[in-house]
Amino acid sequence: MDIMNKARVKSPWVLHFNCGSCNGCDIEILAALAPRFDVERFGIINIGNPKQADVLLVTGPANRRNFRVLKNLYDQMPETKVVIVVGSCGSTGGVFYNCPNVLGGVDKVVPVDVYVPGCAARPEQIIDGFILGLQKLAEKGKKKVEGR
């Protein structure tokens, strides 16, 4: 199923969830969609609907209220899927490490495949993150085929 994997890598649809970040990374994600960086070159669309998404793009740390939402969104995404965390606070808790309501990085709630550092992460980094995420996506797709 080579062609399937190729298609998978060529067409990652993104679900973006702001999980308690400061908006910095979110606007950079949007900026990545905007003309200057234009991630649609890689077939990336911000689809806004977990049921059709392949990539869950999370920004910000998980907190006691939204971890449930994050989990739910992750569950509603069909396989194959990858989770990319954008920003330092999403990866580890970052500057909010000692905020009482913050649980920490996103990886405490859902399995994370790619971490993108930065506060706020630059569009270039987000693109780099996507490239790694797509590698992971291809790997998962291959595994799925072999697993059958």
Binding site: R36, F37, T92, D113, V116, P117, G118, C119, A121, I127
Partner: protein, 112 residues
């Protein structure tokens, strides 16, 4: 007459504003706040940077003469650079790269 028409048609014939990023790497703007590296020759393990770091990205173990720096915690604010009296922290213009794992950068002093 729709106001957008001329803009749209003009964009159609002019070159796109896109930077083809992963293929064409743009020159980083001087002064970009990027990753830091420790010059362990200069560092005296004073822990100033650890204290000033807002996100606990730098951990200094003076006994083991070891510094752990996590680019995945770092805010790239360069407060540590400003606070370092020894000028032992060298800022880079390149930001930490995305990765599958949150690996730490570990700096060890050669002096024993």
């Amino acid at each position: 007459m729709p106001k957008m028409l001329s803009k749209v048609l003009k964009s159609l014939i002019t070159k796109p504003a896109t930077v083809r990023y992963p293929y064409v790497k743009p020159e980083p703007v001087p002064g970009t706040r990027g990753k830091i590296t420790f010059d362990m020759k200069k560092c005296d393990l004073c822990q100033d940077c650890e204290r000033v770091c807002p996100s606990l990205a730098i951990k200094i173990f003076p006994d083991e003469k070891r510094i752990e720096y996590s680019p995945f915690r770092c805010l790239y604010c360069h407060l540590c650079v400003e606070s370092c009296m020894q000028m032992a922290i060298i800022p880079d213009v390149v930001v930490g790269a995305p990765a599958f794992e949150k690996v730490m950068d570990i700096f060890k002093t050669e002096r024993r």
